[in-house]
């Protein structure tokens, strides 16, 4: 008998670590993603009851997979005629073999799911959304926040994407080696978004969602092992390693937010930084460098600066200039504007923010308001700064970020 809390923790842990593996393996039995999700949810619910009664299994992922697959086979038997009328995924292995029921290798199965979710016949937004939901078990609400869109919109997007996979016959398999490079950027985009979602969680009491960060790191490492010569993969892994090296110093012992400027750089993970810098050098060898290599190079400048004051902001801005050309996203433009504010002063930063401020995609984005607030504060324009901090407060649901913004507001009141 295991305690209730212990079981709940084990199930939560298995949800974080094993969701993609269990789902990918179950899809092979059901041939249908929706049905597989239903079976996996059933398996996790079953785990809560069964593990309390019989103890936590040695290999929770294998246990969950077996239960989910059995559920799938039961459903297929029970509703055979109806289920078979549904369009099935086009699988390169038609019938589930004995290995499919026994467990099998997780990496390859997960990649199968990754590449299906990231198929170029799906809209980019749908690829990322599907992968976050199916591989990481994120709820539709969490995926919606990551995209800055409403939950109903996201639910519709996910449903439409799943229907296209089944209806258009998008194959469920890892692409042939010749196709892989062309399919890789969509996958890396997914992994990157996964990382940024975890790096500063959009909702909740923790700044960092360790689960998402570590899943992104796992996926990036897996992609690296699959494509050891790909510069973009090296760049993304470098970016994650270099940014995540600062994880322990981003939150103070009391849980409050610590900005990059104020972090204790001696506590940054030097092993991760060394590994990241080696990967950056490798990724930058390709001309022109890709967007992940450029972002990693920016992260490497921060990692190498002994203090905030010693940061080479001109080099940071120069790298952002290249990045904006390669990847004209409003969020990249925002980061570039912030860097300009440190290279050339808050006045210049504010002017850059005004240029991109009209971008509708940034309308609900709290960092635009908080960046403006910071520049206004440094310029001594207190009343305007307060207004911008208040705007930022309305736009973030992360309590660590909220506390930080409230502290700044209090400081300005004095």
């Amino acid at each position: 008998m295991a305690g209730e809390a212990e079981v709940a923790a084990a199930v939560a842990d298995a949800h974080r670590r094993e969701w993609a593996f269990v789902l990918a393996a179950t899809v092979r039995v059901t041939g249908d993603i929706d049905m597989a999700e239903e079976c996996v949810q059933h398996a996790y619910a079953q785990a809560l009851r069964s593990w309390a009664a019989r103890g936590i299994p040695a290999r929770p992922g294998a246990w969950l997979t077996t239960v989910a697959k059995r559920r799938g086979l039961d459903l297929l038997r029970r509703d055979g005629a109806m289920r078979r009328a549904l369009p099935l995924l086009v699988d390169d292995q038609a019938e589930p073999g004995p290995d499919d029921l026994a467990g099998g290798d997780s990496g390859d199965e997960r990649l199968r799911l990754v590449f299906t979710c990231c198929h170029p016949a799906l809209a980019t937004e749908a690829r990322v959304a599907l992968t976050l939901r199916l591989l990481c078990g994120l709820t539709t609400a969490e995926v919606a926040r990551a995209f800055l869109v409403g939950e109903a919109t996201m639910a519709a997007r996910i449903t439409r994407a799943k229907k296209k996979i089944a209806g258009a016959g998008i194959p469920y398999r890892v692409p042939a080696p010749a196709e892989l490079p062309a399919r890789i950027d969509a996958v890396l985009t997914v992994v990157h978004l996964l990382y940024t979602t975890g790096h500063t969680a959009p909702v909740g009491d923790d700044l960092v969602r360790r689960d998402l960060v570590e899943r992104a790191l796992d996926l990036a490492r897996m992609m690296r092992s699959l494509l050891p010569d790909d510069a973009d993969v090296a760049g993304l892994l470098a970016l994650i390693l270099l940014t995540d090296a600062r994880r322990a110093t981003r939150v103070a012992p009391d849980g409050s937010l610590v900005l990059l400027a104020d972090q204790d750089r001696r506590r940054w993970d030097r092993v991760a930084i060394a590994a990241g810098c080696a990967l950056v050098r490798e990724a930058l060898e390709r001309r022109p460098p890709g967007r992940f290599a450029l972002m990693a190079a920016i992260a490497a400048i921060h990692a190498g600066a002994p203090t905030w004051q010693d940061t080479d902001w001109r080099e940071v801005v120069a790298l952002y200039d290249l990045l904006v050309q390669l990847w004209p996203s409003p969020v990249v433009a925002l980061n570039r504007a912030v860097a300009v504010g440190f290279a050339d002063g808050p006045e210049a930063g504010l002017a850059e923010l005004d240029v991109i401020g009209a971008e509708p995609q940034l309308a609900g984005y709290s960092y635009l308001a908080s960046a403006r607030a910071d520049f206004l504060r440094r310029l001594g324009r207190t009343a305007e700064a307060r207004g911008s901090y208040e705007e930022a407060l309305l736009l973030t649901e992360n309590s660590v970020e909220r506390d930080f913004l409230l502290t700044r507001l209090e400081e300005l009141a004095e």
């Binding site: 009328a85 086009v90 198929h119 016949a121 209806g167 258009a168 016959g169 998008i170 194959p171 196709e179």
Partner: protein, 115 residues
């Protein structure tokens, strides 16, 4: 195996302005495409331009309104199609991307199967 319809959308104005060389070259390309993909092809036709099209819509009184022109006016109009058979979308796309369409592109649509 599934069937996919490959719809060829091209700029009709560009075709109207194209010389006989372009026509001849594209015709040859279509013949070569047909030979290279004969195992997948189940049919196909070129269509006369949308200036020859007639659209029929039901009207509010239950009758029909007949109008000159295509159903939806777009710069790139449906100008022909191939019906192909493929194991999955990747196979269908591999065939479809060989379809000659010098003034546009193609759309791939899975054919609905009724049991």
């Amino acid at each position: 195996m599934s069937q996919y319809l490959v719809l060829i959308y091209e700029d009709e104005a560009a075709w109207a302005g194209a010389g006989p060389d372009q026509w001849e070259r594209t015709m040859k390309d279509h013949i070569a495409f047909g030979e290279n993909n004969k195992d997948s092809l189940r049919g196909g036709n070129a269509l006369k331009p949308t200036s020859t099209a007639t659209s029929i819509r039901k009207d509010a009184s239950g009758g029909h309104t007949i109008t000159d022109g295509a159903f939806v006016e777009t710069k790139e109009a449906l100008g022909g199609y191939y019906l192909i058979e493929a194991g999955d979308l990747d196979e269908a796309l591999a065939v479809a991307q060989q379809v000659p369409a010098p003034f546009g592109g193609v759309e791939v649509r899975p054919v609905m199967v009724f049991d």
